[in-house]
């Protein structure tokens, strides 16, 4: 379903009449506005096929909903050991099937030997602007020295680092694949000790406000919950720290888009969350 119709529809919102509210297509900005989705995945979720887990289909879905750029990681980065092949496939898929929309964010597993070369290839061979880490799937706690070292290396390379906190609800995990989300507490200290580090937290249910204020740390909205959650988050944080992220195709893309409508946001806030903050984050990389 295309959720990106006219500005007029947006201003109309849903008319309430005689106890019946009819919803039109849901719009959250002008069609011409950029929309950068900072949290999409390619390849297959290990435990289930998803309706849009084919790259061409995903790209079509994102385009139909007004996405102008999507930062893509790979589900293969969770459990595969041949990370170099995972990243090569990701870069190739983005190039061949992304139609200029997909930006690859490679995986690095700091518990594998010579992970430094995976990082090097992300930068030098694939020209990736960032990496996406899944520490809980790599058996790596955030106070592990290897993890801090990875963040230091990434910062020196000018990479934006995304940390995926939760990949699925702990309560409904496969009995043979139960993965605890990492404790985020050690991160604030690492951020303070790592000059130049730019972090984005993905799939966070309760954004850790202290961490988000500790340095150049942003968060996206895919797992944010509660009525008007985006508005509540913006009331607690500088607007430049909140990015748009859908976690498609694992989540219905429309969830993130509708969250922008559920909160009464100003035009400026909408623009910041939809695109301006993400554009700034990548621009800082190019400058560095």
């Amino acid at each position: 379903m295309n959720l990106e119709p006219s500005r007029r529809d947006f201003l109309k919102t849903a008319a309430v009449a005689a106890g019946a509210v009819l919803i039109r297509n849901v719009a959250v900005a002008k069609p011409a506005d950029a929309l950068i989705d900072t949290n999409v995945y390619l390849s297959h979720w290990p435990l289930r096929r998803l309706p849009c887990d084919d790259t061409a289909k995903l790209v079509a879905k994102l385009r139909a909903n007004g996405v102008t750029q999507a930062w893509a990681g790979s589900f293969d980065g969770l459990l595969h050991r041949d990370i170099a092949a995972v990243n090569a496939r990701l870069a190739d898929e983005c190039r061949r099937l992304g139609g200029g929309l997909l930006v690859p964010f490679g995986s690095v597993n700091p518990k594998l030997p010579d992970w430094e070369d995976d990082l090097r290839r992300c930068v030098e061979e694939h020209r990736m602007p960032g990496i996406r880490l899944h520490p809980s799937y790599h058996g790596c706690k955030l106070d592990d020295p290897d993890f801090a070292k990875l963040l230091q290396f990434a910062a020196k390379r000018g990479l934006l680092v995304q940390i995926a906190h939760i990949m699925e609800d702990r309560r409904m995990m496969h009995p043979l694949l139960q993965v605890e989300p990492p404790d985020l507490k050690p991160l604030a200290d690492i951020v303070k000790k790592t000059p130049g580090l730019r972090l984005e937290l993905l799939n966070v249910k309760l954004p850790p406000l202290d961490l988000l204020k500790a340095g150049d740390v942003s968060v996206e909205i895919a797992m944010l919950e509660g009525v008007g959650g985006v508005g509540k988050l913006l009331a607690q944080l500088p607007a430049e720290r909140v990015l748009f992220g859908s976690y498609a195709p694992k989540f219905y893309f429309e969830s993130a888009l509708l969250k922008l409508k559920e909160s009464p946001l100003t035009e400026e806030q909408l623009r910041a969350v939809r695109c301006a903050n993400a554009q700034r984050l990548l621009a800082r990389k190019q400058l560095s």
């Binding site: 849903a14 096929r49 139960q178 509660g226 195709p249 009464p264």
Partner: protein, 262 residues
């Protein structure tokens, strides 16, 4: 363009010192997404195993809230089958003699227990639907927390009752299978993450006439839960049923009885 009724909403997760204020905040959020009506249950402070007094307190709060917004919200009476007679009294007070149109059962007791039988029988006499929380947690259910299989057993004993499997078992790939053989059980899709494929499977396995939209707001966002339907790869005709028509159909008998036109 769809009409939307939300079959699962609580007076929680939004600011407000009174039930009326909280429902008003909820309705503001709902309105932004075009949601016409909310079914509301449980009070401002919850308890797993409420005493009869606590049940009444929570139901009184819902009664206050829906009284303020009679055209936008319906109440379901929250019961605890551990207190069978008190639950029957409360059912009569809030549904037979009051404006409520359904029953909410949560985690006080596994719903396959025989103590539920008189409650379900009375609810069915009153034409009230019975919404039962169902979840499978790999991390461990609460002591009295029901699964979809528990509800299937209850539904088999009461073929004339109308049941809603709230959350479709949470672990929906399992929960939907458990309720699939029982046509008097509806799968309601709220409360979990907006995982793609959920609604497609529900519609495929239960048929579009047995799937209901709910949000579990204010703990959950209306948006994330609505996306499960609006974003699903199902025909618009199925979306129409899931978003409102099915809920309207199962509530129609009791609404008609109460003289409420929809």
């Amino acid at each position: 363009m769809f009409e939307i009724w939300d079959v699962h909403v609580h007076l929680s997760g939004v600011p407000g010192a009174t039930p009326e204020e909280r429902l008003e905040r909820l309705l503001e959020g709902a309105e932004r997404l075009g949601i016409a009506r909310l079914c509301v249950f449980m009070g401002m402070k919850w308890s797993y195993d409420p005493t009869p007094d606590d049940m009444r307190r929570q139901n009184d709060e819902v009664l206050r809230a829906v009284k303020r917004f009679p055209d936008r919200a319906f109440g379901f009476v929250y019961l605890n089958p551990q207190h069978t007679q008190a639950s029957l009294d409360e059912l009569n007070r809030c549904v037979r003699d009051g404006p409520m149109v359904g029953v909410k059962l949560w985690v006080a007791m596994h719903c396959n227990e025989s103590k539920l039988d008189p409650i379900v029988a009375r609810a069915t006499e009153l034409k009230a639907v019975v919404l039962q929380h169902t979840w499978y947690k790999i991390t461990g259910n609460l002591p009295g927390e029901s699964t979809s299989e528990d509800l299937a057993q209850l539904a088999a004993r009461h073929p004339n009752a109308t049941f809603i499997s709230a959350h479709s078992g949470g672990d929906w790939e399992r929960g939907l299978r458990a309720i699939r053989p029982y046509p008097n059980v509806y799968g309601e899709i709220c409360g979990g993450d907006p995982t793609a494929g959920y609604t497609e499977m529900a519609v495929r396995e239960l048929g579009p006439e047995r799937v209901l939209y709910g949000s579990d707001a204010g703990g959950r966002s209306f948006a994330s839960q609505l996306a499960k339907v609006l974003g699903a790869d199902i025909p618009d005709s199925a979306k129409r049923l899931v978003l409102a028509e099915n809920t309207k159909r199962i509530l129609k008998p009791i609404l008609r009885e109460k003289g409420i036109k929809i």
